[in-house]
């Protein structure tokens, strides 16, 4: 090796006393790679006395000192007598410091057998799911108890946060809910018209749009939007309050977080979601009407007339009656996950994701239960 300047260099030679490595140049971390490899491969032959000559060393940092120290250590372990020679006074302290801090260490986290890890993870996930379901049920009970107390003593209800959350989850969500349900109405009508035209049954597009929007899509879509929009917000808000020890502070001031934080949010959702669902129904029907007019030449007057004659109001009520239950699920899961936050901001992110996924799942489970129920009672 002959480079100088930025790089560490060294020269091997054999002297009458034994093998010798002349350490030259700048032994700093940036230019060590080649010198390190060369020293790792160095197997001095001849006499057991080996010397590392530091006379021509220009600069040394901890990394360079480490490489020298390690070389000396490995060669000594092989039974050679290795010494530094011509050490400059500037470098003694550094060499000693590095030698004192020679400690074994590893970098990657410890890993166990992959089969064990997979099995353990499956078990852990199942156990977590059961525990979580139980805890969520407990939380529902707690919420109901709080609600009961509040109904018995309505002055306990926090008016200002309730109105604030009504605005945040209800009023502010109107544009997005309206736009999306309008577009879904358009899509349904268009798809329905294309398919039904094959049988000459275009006129049933009106029923198709109206029944699917009123019974299922209007409210389900709204619930999913709100789960993404407000369920996540609940988790993040309550979660960051938990991190900031605000929840603990409330408890020490004899304030009930259920009453202060959870109830206003859940109630606001229960009030707002039916209203949003109603707007979604209207906008979905409107989207269907526009598309029927454009594609099928069904005038708005005819559309309305057909709605009146052939779509019973029951479909609307089937949709509406589900809204508060969806709202309860979203609010419950959102607040519950928020209260599970601990440790770091990372956990807020994880639990927010979890809250959204879980609340959408719960909403669809509840929807399925309602579908079966309505089918059985023939509603």
């Amino acid at each position: 090796m002959t480079q100088t300047g930025e790089f560490a260099s060294l020269k091997f030679s054999d002297t009458p006393e034994g093998a010798r490595a002349e350490i030259q140049g700048r032994w700093v971390i940036a230019g060590l790679a080649e010198a390190d490899t060369a020293l790792r491969q160095w197997r001095p032959s001849g006499k057991p006395a080996v010397a590392l000559d530091l006379a021509a060393l220009e600069r040394l940092d901890t990394a360079g000192a480490w490489v020298l120290h390690r070389t000396r250590k490995t060669l000594r372990a092989e039974g050679l007598q290795v010494e530094y020679i011509n050490v400059q006074p500037d470098h003694t302290a550094l060499l000693a410091r590095v030698e004192a801090n020679d400690a074994p260490g590893s970098v990657e986290p410890r890993q166990s057998n992959i089969v064990v890890v997979v099995l353990a993870e499956i078990g852990e996930t199942m156990a977590d799911a059961v525990n979580e379901a139980r805890a969520l049920l407990g939380f529902l009970g707690l919420l109901m108890a709080t609600l009961g107390r509040t109904i018995a003593n309505p002055r306990r209800l926090r008016g200002t946060p309730l109105v604030y959350h009504l605005e945040a989850v209800g009023f502010n969500a109107v544009p997005i809910v309206a736009l999306i349900s309008f577009l879904i109405g358009v899509v349904l009508a268009y798809q329905g018209a294309t398919q039904l035209r094959q049988f000459g049954a275009e006129i049933f597009t009106v029923e198709l749009v109206a029944i699917s929007v009123l019974r299922e899509i209007g409210i389900l879509l709204t619930a999913i939007i709100i789960a993404g929009r407000s369920g996540s917000a609940f988790t993040a808000q309550i979660g960051s309050m938990k991190l900031n020890e605000e929840i603990d502070a409330m408890r020490t001031l004899a304030l009930d977080p259920m009453e202060m934080l959870v109830l206003p949010r859940v109630l606001a959702l229960i009030i707002a979601l039916p209203m949003l669902g109603f707007i979604a129904d209207i906008m979905g029907l409107l989207g269907g009407a526009v598309m029927c007019w454009v594609v099928l030449d069904i005038t708005p007057a005819l559309y309305l007339q057909r709605l009146n004659e052939w779509v019973p109001l029951a479909h609307f009520w089937v949709g509406m009656i589900k809204a508060p239950f969806f709202a309860l699920m979203i609010g419950l899961v959102g607040c519950f996950e928020g209260l599970q936050v601990k440790g770091s901001a990372e956990s807020v992110g994880q639990l927010t994701t979890k809250a959204v996924v879980e609340s959408i799942f719960m909403v669809i489970v509840v929807d399925a239960i309602f579908s079966i129920y309505f089918a059985v009672i023939g509603f």
Binding site: I29, N101, V107
Partner: protein, 261 residues
């Protein structure tokens, strides 16, 4: 210590002005930091100690003034040159700022892996050595930051700051949030490493014990600029209400007594 004129300033700040919107934080601020010294920056809350640190290391941009590090104006540099300079300093943030998805040892290897082409085995050895050097137990290397206590996180952060053997180390409130024993141990560690590795240390602190224990020189930030720099003796005799209150207040006296014992 030799007179200031004979020493080589490693960082030199002239006429610095920083502001957030209409709020001016520093105005006409001059400061020199000399090679091999430990400079402590003190000042009341909100006087912009951390902002000054962040401005020097380039996380915050000044409105006016020049900052020269290693005799080069940081704002006049090409980005490659600037990166080369950035490799010559290390920063310890208040809470360590370790990457939470990496183990401690991996955290220490990040700067080496990104900036240098070193064999993996050598990086692992250097990481293990730095872990020992900052006084962490060997098994700390495989732990994630969330598994460490506050003091250990700071030590790990220091190890990462030292990964590339920097010439300057910036420390933002290194002892804040540590218990007195942990804080003294951290002070001792900084002093020890500073002497062994020949570091220049720029230290933002509130901790009077730290100032007594390890700082060669102290700079006081007040009224938007550095009102005085000097050693502890000069601080104690400097006639300014805030400086008097700070160094002669009950905590200042306690720290002074502790030092004298």
């Amino acid at each position: 210590m030799s007179p200031q004129q004979e020493r080589e300033p490693i960082i030199s700040i002239r006429g610095l002005k920083t502001a957030f919107g209409a709020t001016v934080i520093h105005d006409e601020l001059d400061l020199d930091i000399y090679r091999g010294e430990v400079l402590g920056i003190v000042g009341g809350s909100g006087t912009g100690k951390s902002v000054l640190l962040r401005t020097i290391i380039g996380l915050n941009h000044q409105k006016k003034g020049t900052i020269k590090v290693f005799d080069k104006d940081l704002d006049a540099l090409e980005s490659a040159e600037r990166r080369a300079i950035e490799r010559r300093w290390g920063v310890l943030f208040q809470n360590g700022a370790l990457f939470s998805s990496l183990t401690v040892a991996q955290n220490i290897e990040v700067p080496m892996r990104e900036h240098l082409a070193l064999p993996k085995a050598l990086m692992d050895e250097i990481a293990a050595m730095k872990i020992a050097m900052v006084g962490l137990p060997p098994d700390a290397g495989t732990k994630y930051p969330s598994e460490l206590s506050g003091g250990m996180r700071k030590r790990a952060g220091l190890a990462r700051a030292l990964a590339l053997d920097p010439e300057i180390v910036f420390l933002d409130e290194p002892t804040a949030g540590l218990d007195p024993i942990g804080a003294s141990a951290f002070d001792a560690l900084i002093k020890e490493l500073q002497q062994a590795l020949g570091l220049t240390v720029f230290l933002v602190t509130h901790d009077l014990d730290t100032l007594h224990a390890i700082c060669d020189r102290i700079a006081v930030l007040a009224e938007k600029h550095v009102i005085v720099t000097g050693d502890m003796g000069q601080m104690l005799s400097f006639d300014h209400p805030w400086v008097q209150e700070y160094f002669h207040g009950p905590r200042g006296r306690a720290a002074l007594q502790a030092k004298e014992q």
